[in-house]
């Protein structure tokens, strides 16, 4: 069919696995030092304990935000993740002053080229295409490169008949790239993937807002999230400013979305991998 014809190859392969990254590049998303102050109970906890516990406070159970590579380590089978399109970066369509320098600084700090890592891996032996957004990359904002990488990942998954998993984390569209960052190639590519009868599981993570909520994060055949994840379209402060009153603490939380019918389930961090594996099996995924 003409619709599936490709004029060019959209994706390129790159084969560094998590292990290679681990040796040199993975940095935990919690700050440097031996101690970490929990954002829930505000107690000091040993960073080592926090890391061992998948960034969940051992005292009060508060979830810390997870960096992309940490998430990959948690979800992908050990050593199975291969990154694709790792070196794709955006341009400066508005010629926004200082944007290139800002990007370079963030790249340096996060050791990541852009706001999402995409690739393929196995989850309990089942092959998937997976994208994980990096909340620390200019607030996980979605610019041209993120759109391009999500669209390419969906096309890759469509080409190889793979289920698609996206962990999003985003403050919204990247302002510095203007309207260009809104152009909906990701949603279009996900639709094409879907028309081939393939599964897309979206896992919005804390926080997922704005342009990402209004596109690929809400388009999953199945949408699940960790407890208390912030998921919304408009910012809390914007709404509070409009209605001039304070909103309840659970507004735009995963539980709020679940009760309003916009999530399939709230799944604990430690159970996420097993839950995903079960969903994949229920859609015909077989162990390699």
């Amino acid at each position: 069919m003409a619709i599936f014809k490709k004029k060019r190859n959209y994706f390129t392969l790159d084969t560094h696995s998590v292990e290679q990254k681990e040796k040199t590049e993975i940095k935990p998303s919690v700050p440097e030092g031996m101690w970490h102050k929990c954002r829930g109970c505000e107690k000091m906890i040993l960073k080592e304990d926090l890391m061992k516990n998948h960034l969940i406070c051992p005292r009060c159970g508060t979830y810390e935000r997870m960096g992309a590579w940490e998430r990959i380590r948690l979800i992908a089978d050990e050593g199975s993740f291969r990154e694709i399109n790792g070196n794709i970066v955006g341009r400066n369509p508005l010629d926004f002053p200082g944007y290139e320098a800002k990007i370079e600084k963030v790249q340096e700090k996060t050791k990541t080229f852009e706001g999402i890592i995409t690739g393929y891996c196995t989850i309990s032996g089942i092959r998937v295409a997976m994208g994980v957004m990096e909340p620390g990359f200019i607030m996980g904002s979605m610019g041209s490169a993120v759109g391009e990488k999500v669209a390419s990942l969906a096309e890759f998954a469509e080409f190889y008949n793979l289920p698609l998993l996206i962990f999003s984390a985003s403050g919204g569209a990247r302002m510095q790239e203007g309207i260009v960052s809104l152009m909906t190639k990701a949603s279009f590519a996900i639709k094409k993937h879907s028309e081939k009868g393939l599964l897309y599981i979206s896992i919005p993570t804390d926080p997922t807002t704005g342009g990402v909520t209004a596109s690929f994060a809400m388009l999953g055949d199945i949408i699940i999230a960790e407890p208390k994840t912030l998921i919304g379209f408009a910012g809390r402060r914007v709404i509070e400013g409009t209605i001039r009153k304070e909103l309840p603490a659970d507004f735009q939380s995963a539980e709020f979305l679940l009760s309003h019918g916009f999530l399939d389930a709230v799944v604990k961090r430690k159970e996420m991998k097993a839950y995903l594996a079960k969903l994949l099996q229920l859609h015909g995924g077989r162990r390699l």
Partner: protein, 267 residues
Amino acid sequence: MSAWDKVLKARAKDRPLPLDYVRSIMDDFTELRGDRLYGDDQAVVAGLAFFKGQPVTVICITRGKDIEENIIRNFGSPNPEGYRKALRLMKASEKFSRPVVMFIDTKGAGCAVEAEERGQGEAIARCLYESASLKVPMISLITGEGGSGGALALASGDEVHMLENAIYSILSPEGFSSILYKNPGKAKEASEIMKITAEDLLGLGIIEGIISEKGDINEHLDEVMEDVSETIRKFLARAEKVSPDELILKRYERFRSFGKVYWKPEL
């Protein structure tokens, strides 16, 4: 004219609104209401009409002419019901093989507790998603403000055209400046850098054409209406020549080409 002057023109009280265009260039506009799920959102006005004798689906996001109408239309900021009504009519256009003509004048999607409760993000996302494979021609005309995802939901078709003094932006200049400069008062400054004018967007390849306002749109309304009509007529003539599958492929390539990226060898 500076970008900020255009912002003011786009927001002017006496500027023609989407329904003025519909009434002027189409016949027998018949409004169809409701999303069949929750309610009817009057920030989105949709229905059927004859365009030069051909039935088309018309969907508008519009503010009101005066305060009373603005209250009914929520100042042109739709709730999820508006997008779901738009989507319902898009799907119906496919069933009955009617082109979709969309007019946009909105500051952006509504920001309210109710909108979040009823899935504003999901409603917009679904419009984009279904636009990807809708087998009928889709054209959008931005007549005033085209604010953010709220406008994009109805601008994800085959072509987007703008009136000369319309604007199309990632966010209102006020919102942009409060995010980037932490100061909503720098909206004017922000507007100059955001590339929101028709000319800038044509340069970026985001839109297909600009319709001249002949100096003062209100003085030359008939001529401007005629040009808008001609833009739609030419688009429909072009779209008629391609098969639905080709149309969808072209639409895909259109969006796929936005946002140039490159390969950076190393950090």
